[in-house]
Structures are given as C-alpha cells and as structure tokens.
Amino acid sequence: MNDRATDRVLIDQWREEPAPLLPLLHAFQERDGWLTEDVLRAVSADLNIPLAELFGTVTFYHHFSQEPPGRELPRVCDGPVCRFQGAPNLIEKLNAKPMPCAGRCDGPVPVLQSDEVLTGTSFDQLKTNPSPLPPPNPGAIEECVFAHIREPGRATLKGYRETGGYDCLKRVLAETPEHLVSVITESRLAGRGGAGFSTGKKWAMVAKAPGQPKTIVCNADEGEPGCFKDRVLLNYDPHAILEGMILAAYATGASRGFIYLRYEYPEAQAVLEHAVAEALDAGFLGQSICGKAGFDFDIFVRRGAGAYICGEEGSLLNSLEGKHPFPRNRPPFPVTNGFEDLPTAVNNVETFAAVPPIVNHGADWYQSLGSGDHAGTKVVSLSGDIQCPGNYEVPIGLPLKTLLYDWAGGPREGQSIQAVSMAGLSGGFLGGGDLDEVTLDEPSVRSRGSFLGAAGIIVFDERRNMVDVAKNAMAFFAEESCGKCFPCRIGTERLTERLNGSALFNDSDSWHEEVADIEKTMMATSACGLGVAAPNITRSLQKYFPEQIAAHLK
C-alpha cells in the first residue's frame, strides 16, 4: 500500500507550501487510513523534522492514528451535552471512540467518520443533517455578525456580494491602514475568542512591530465544550471571515493568512476552501488586491488534528509550524513573535466576522449595539437542558435571564434550571440567585468569580448531578492538558480523582483542604489559560452546590 513514489508526490506537493506538516499528514492519513512508520520516516527525512520529535508530535493529537482502523473508526462526541442525549449508547453500538465536544451541541449527537459528520440521538437515526442555523432572534434586536447569515446562498461569493460584501475594500484601501485601525479601536471590538483583548490595539501592535512577512491567523479551533458559534459562521458566512482577515492584513501590513480549523468541522473546510478560491478569482485575495499595487495577501486553510489546547494561540502557532503543540512562554507575545517568530495577529472567527459590518456601519453603530455602556454584541452558544438551544447574538450586557427564558423558551417541560456553565466549561458554573442577576458582560460575570469568555452556556436542570457534571468537565481538562506545566498536568488529574466516585480521597476535611490548595496553585502558577481556568469548575461547585459535595463525600 505504501508506495514510495506516491509518498514523493504527496511530499513534493506540500513541502514548499507554508505550514506544510498538518496537511501533509492528513493527506497520508487519507491515503492509507492511518500514519504508517514508513510514512513518518519519509516525512521526517523530507521535512527535516527529527523522527522522534515527529512521533511525539503525532501522538499529541486525538485524530492522527498509527494503526487501523484509523480514520475510518467512528468518533462519537461525549461532551457535556451529548452525553445526556444518547452518546453513551451510540458509542457502544458503533464500537466508537469517544471524542471531546465536537461543537454540535445545538443538535443531535455528532458522529465523525472519515470526513463525514452524521448526527442523531440513536443508531438508526444517524444521517447527515445541515449544521443548525441560528434561531431567529426575537424582538428584532439588531445583529452584527448574524445580520445576514440566515439568507440562502450567503456562503457563496454571489450571495455575500448581494448585501454589499467586499464593497468596503476599495474605499478602505484608498485610506491609510492607520485609519482602519483607529475605526476598529474606536468600535471597542474586543477579541471574541475568550480573552477579550482590544482588537484595534492588537492590530496596532502588529502594524508597529518590526519584521516581515507578517501573518494573520484566524483561530477556528473552537474546542471549548459547549461552544459552537464559530461553526455556524464558518459554514454559512465564510466570506465575512475572509473579508475581516483581508482588512486585518491591510491594517497590519500582513501578506499571509491562515485559518486554523478544528478537525471536527470537515464540512467547514470545504466551504472555506471554496470561498478562498472564489475570493482569489474575484481579485479580493492574491496579488494587488482590488488593484492596489503592493497589497498582496493569501489565505491558507489548515486543518487541526484534534487537541483543545491548539486553540490557545501559542500552541496553535507551534502546531502550524509543525512543532510539538505546547503553549509558548509569554512574553514575547504573537504580535511581535508569532508565526515563524514574526509579527502575527491571531483573532477568533467571530472577531473577524464583526470587522466588515463595523467598517460598513461605523464604530459608533457597533458600540451602540451593546446594552447600556457595553459596546457591541456577542454570540452566545446556548445548549443543554433548554427549550431552544442554538447560537444567539445578544447585545453585550443582556440579562442572562432574558436569554434563557424570553429568547430560548426556558427549561424543558416540567423542569427548572439548576445551573448554567460559563465560557463553555472554562468559567465553571453559575447557580442560585446569580442566575437571575447576572448580565452577559465580563464585569458582571467576573464579579461572580467566573467569566463570559467565548460565551458557551450549557444549561443543567434539576435532574443533573452537578458533582458528576463537574467530574466530567475536569476529566476533559485533564485529558486536554498539554502536560507541560506541573500544576495543570497533575492538578487536573488530582481534581478529577477527587470528583470521582472513588472513596479513596473522600475524607471530608482533607478533601476540602487539598482541593483548595490545588485550585489556588493552579490558578496562580499555571503556564496558560487552561490550567488557570480549570479550577473554576470545583470552585463554583463548592460555591453553589455544597450539599451535593457533602452527599458525594458521604
């Protein structure tokens, strides 16, 4: 099966491309079903990566396999929502490998086999279903990134141009990059990937940083359980993302761009590649964009291979570069030392998608979309025990209660809401009175010891055992910890054990003492956001559900 001549063809096809390792490994895995020793030897020799290092890197990812059945083996989501919707049954029926949340929490359980995503809550219902669109927003509240997403044909160039897509480019290119940066800064657009850093400031830093070529990276790794907002943008509005990236390139002086797409969104890869080809054809990408001499920009789509930590920007950049995907030490930051150690702007999908509307309607318009003093909108991925799960674009500052009850129809028939998660799982849980009081903006959510982040909100009704939910959440962080820094690598494991049924560690006093010490040290000393955030799970569990812990420790 392993034909040296076709090895060569594939290697020659990729070796001179930017960021070649991931696509090359995917090409081999597609050809052979898994990565054979011979293939890894050939790739190591031709890409000049030491074999041991390449082996280590390959073992880091969920979806590269080195043995049959490899790619063909069905993977079933056993994320926090799917596990209540039939995932365990499907896993058993299909003899499948569980995979962490695959970003489809607003529909039936996803099953990934090769490049196909089937969904269904039971074995006989499995079929390909379109990725769910955002539910209509109630009460005609003005949207930014979702304003046109429900229009049929939107994903094509023609559909995108119908509402003025790419029209602003000509106008913007006639003005200075500084002008564009100042519009974005004034809009107060903040990163939508979780950290909330000012997008305008980030771009200004990249523009100012010495070194060429500069790079724009669109972070489409969306691995946070309960987050599926980028998926819908990628599937239904790819040109908005491309236009946002092109504007970013102009603002910063970048000449190459990457979209780092999570492995579990194969249909989005096809959509993006088609959109890139269309944009290139129409002269919105490539050399002298829109006829502007010297403005050259290309976009390459790179598919990840399954690793939550690769959404962290340093880890993402290492992954693109074909290195072991550990997060990077900071400082220096990507704005000065990013892809190939050169200035790089890494932004989230939703952040890029917000840029064209801001440029079209103005900074003031975007600011005014927020509620009260808050600027702009945020897409919330709402899932779990709720009548109408889905992606909702809310004015920042909207009361959580309004979203849950007025927009999404409240809890399921006969149930009541016990808790919601924040920032996917990274923000831990909110419960009790906070469910009625909190508003969807960072100051309000942070004042409760949590954070809004990428705004995945999972609803848990009274039927759920929150210790069990917390255990699965912590097990996810333990599984996805990159293993580089001690507090996170050991801490996530120890916290999982302490949430697990095993009686071994369940003496009440030492449980509380040990858990508190691990939490404090993880939050203070972990090297990246994963380890800093994971203790939010146990902290919020103790805050809102002490009686469930007491029952667990009995």
């Binding site: 020793e37 890894l40 030491p50 074999l51 041991a52 290092e53 390449l54 082996f55 280590g56 890197t57 073992t59 880091f60 690793a307 930590i309 072991h324 030490n329 400082p331 333990a478 599984e479 996805e480 910890s481 990159c482 293993g483 580089k484 820094c485 001690f486 507090p487 690598r489 050991i490 801490g491 996530t492 494991e493 120890r494 054990e497 071994l504 560690f505 040990e514 010490d517 691990i518 404090k520 040290t521 939050m523 203070a524 000393t525 972990s526 090297a527 800093v532």
Partner: protein, 362 residues
C-alpha cells in the same frame, strides 16, 4: 555580510528590596542567581533554553496579578520582584507535594546520576508533607535492556530536561514526549529501545535528570557497596577535546564517571566513551608489565630494559633490510600532546621519515 552587534544595555531592577543591575536579555532567575538569591527549580538547566514547566521558580512582580515563572520572564527596568513571599512559598510547597504524589516515594541512590538528588533535596528543604494529594501514579518503567542507561520512568516528573538536553546539547533528538497531559511518557520514536534509536549513549540525559528516573547503569553496579563515593576531578583520557570529568570511586576502585558541569571544554557533556567506557582501568586483562614473545611463541613477562632492547632490535632490523621509509608511526589518539610530540620526533628525527600519523584523525 555585516552583522549589527547590539550594544550591551544594562539597567536596574529591585530584587527582594535590593537594587540590582542586569543586562538586557537576562531573565529574572538569572539576575537572582547572580545576586546569590536562591530560587528553587526542577525543569531548569542553565545550559538549556528556559522552558517554564515546573513553576517552582515563580516570583511576585509588583503590579502583576499572578506570580510569574522567573526562568522565562525577562528582567525589565524598574521591575520590583519578591522571591520568597508567603504566598509564593505556599505555592512551591503545593507544587512539590503534587509532584511528589506522582511517583512512589523512594530514596534514590546518588550513583544514578549527577542531578538525581534534586527533587528529594527540594522535598526536604521545603518541608513537604508526605502523602498529600494521593492518586494515580504517572510513570511506567521502560524495559530497555541496554547496558548503560536505566529508564525507570516510575520516578519521572516530566520536566523534559532529558529531551531538551538531547536535542539542544547533543543534537541527537533521540527522545521525545509521547501523548498529552498526565499520560505523557518520555520515549524514542515508535516506543523503540534506545539502541535502535538515534541515541549515541552520551549519558547527558542521565546526568541532567533531577529524579534518577534515568540512571547510570554502570555506576549503579556499585550501589550495593555501602560506603559513600568520592569525587576526583580529572580529564577524560580518550581524545584531544579534554572533557573534564569527576571520577567516582569507592575505596580504591573507580566505580563511575560524571561529566564536570563546569568543565570549560564540555560543560557537562561527554560521549559514550568518556561516560561509560572505563572498565578497562581495572580490567584483569589490562597489561601492567611489558611482555615479549619467546622462542616458544608465547608472551613472557620481562623488565622494561629487556622489552625496550627487543623493540629497538626490531626497528634496527627493519631499517637495515628495507630502509628508513619502511617505518611508519601511528600515535595513539589517547596520548596527550607531549607524548604525541615525542612520538613524531622519534619517527622524524630518529628514522628520517615523515611517515607519522595519529589514529584519531578519522
């Protein structure tokens, strides 16, 4: 090509209340070391790129929300740093208790390697409560039957010093980390044994390992002998590089060799010969008296004069029968410069031929 040389910029910062000067590019940890402030570390090796895994080196920087890893954080002018606050000390103890919980608690014989006591010494120094944070152990032993390197990952704490020293110092990239998180294992490609990998058995991974998870199997042969070993600084006799070594001896026997971390030529590096190939020193087959072949065709012990006369006779005979250029001298690569000089003098001046060579010029 003209390379711009950057001017050396110095500035000051405050460390534990003291004003200290640093050079741009130095990390907080390096500045602290120069100021004789002790900051604990486990993943740090001064020869390697800073990595930032163990987080023991955290310090508080005024104005920052969280402590920072001093080994990876560059010093900045005006920075006010505290290295031993109560909070920092508490985090260090928790980190050590966590790392101790990963593996079975055990004393590690110092013969395993140069740095093998680092973890256990820190546990002691920081008054770590044994038995906290019990749970799953992270390591597994690796059945690798090579005669040099014990791979006892039951004691591994995933500091990656071995992986990094192999890549950055030895340039072999023979080992790597497999998997993620708590499942992480140090291994070679496809989990093969070192013998089949790119490993050159230089032993540097062994000597930087802070837990003894990697052990010097040759030195460990003497573990059963109860007395402590003595270290004697010397120079490796194998080649002209002049790597400094510490000879480990018990009573009058050489039991092992460790590289001198401060050896100017080697900075803690050795090759397989310098590191492991010392058995000849005390080998029963080693010649200690001159031997000459008798009429009976067998070798007989003789005194030096007899032996030298015999050698001289042989040289003379060759010269008489075949001329000066029938003689060819090869000096041992292990001979010091002075002996090599004498050897070439002997061949050139003594026999009038330039046929002199050295075995290590391959």
């Amino acid at each position: 090509m003209i390379t711009e040389s950057k001017p050396v910029v110095t500035a000051t910062m405050t460390l534990d209340g003291r004003e200290v000067t640093y050079t741009e590019g130095e990390t907080i940890y390096e500045v602290a070391r120069r100021a004789n402030i002790e900051v604990p570390t486990l993943c740090y090796d001064p020869r390697l790129e800073p990595f930032g895994a163990c987080r023991l080196c955290i310090v508080e920087v005024e104005g920052g929300r969280n402590p920072v890893a001093s080994c990876t954080t560059p010093a900045v002018a005006g920075m006010v740093v505290h290295t031993q606050t109560e909070a920092v000390e508490k985090h260090r103890r928790t980190l050590l208790e966590l790392v101790a919980s990963e593996n079975p608690e055990e004393n590690i014989n110092p013969l395993r390697g140069y740095a093998s006591q680092e973890l256990n010494q820190l546990l002691e120094k920081h008054d770590v409560q044994p038995g906290r944070f019990q749970g799953k152990h992270s390591g597994t032993s690796n059945k690798d039957d090579n005669p040099f390197i014990l791979r006892d990952y039951n004691h591994c704490i995933s500091c990656y010093r071995c992986v990094r020293v192999c890549a950055e110092q030895e340039g072999d990239h023979a080992i790597t980390m497999m998997n993620r998180g708590f499942e992480k294992q140090i291994t070679a490609e496809f989990d093969i044994r070192l013998k089949e990998s790119a490993c050159t058995f230089c032993g540097q991974c062994v000597q930087t390992c802070p837990t003894g998870a990697l052990g010097d199997r040759k030195a460990m042969r003497a573990e059963a002998q109860k007395e402590d070993f003595k270290k004697t600084r010397s120079v490796c006799p194998y080649c002209g590089v002049g790597c400094q070594v510490d000879l480990l001896s018990k009573e009058d026997r050489l039991v092992g060799i460790q590289p001198a971390m401060d050896g100017p030529a080697n900075e803690g590096a050795l090759c397989i010969k310098g590191q492991f190939a010392f058995d000849f020193v005390q080998h029963e087959d080693r010649l200690s008296k001159p031997l000459v072949r008798g009429e009976d065709g067998k070798l007989h012990e003789v005194d030096w004069d007899t032996a030298l006369d015999r050698a001289a006779e042989g040289f003379k005979k060759v010269r008489q029968q075949h001329g000066n250029h029938a003689i060819y001298g090869v000096a041992s690569g292990r001979a010091p410069s002075e002996a090599s000089y004498t050897m070439q003098k002997f061949i050139r001046a003594g026999f009038g031929t330039n046929q002199i060579d050295n075995c290590s010029r391959a």
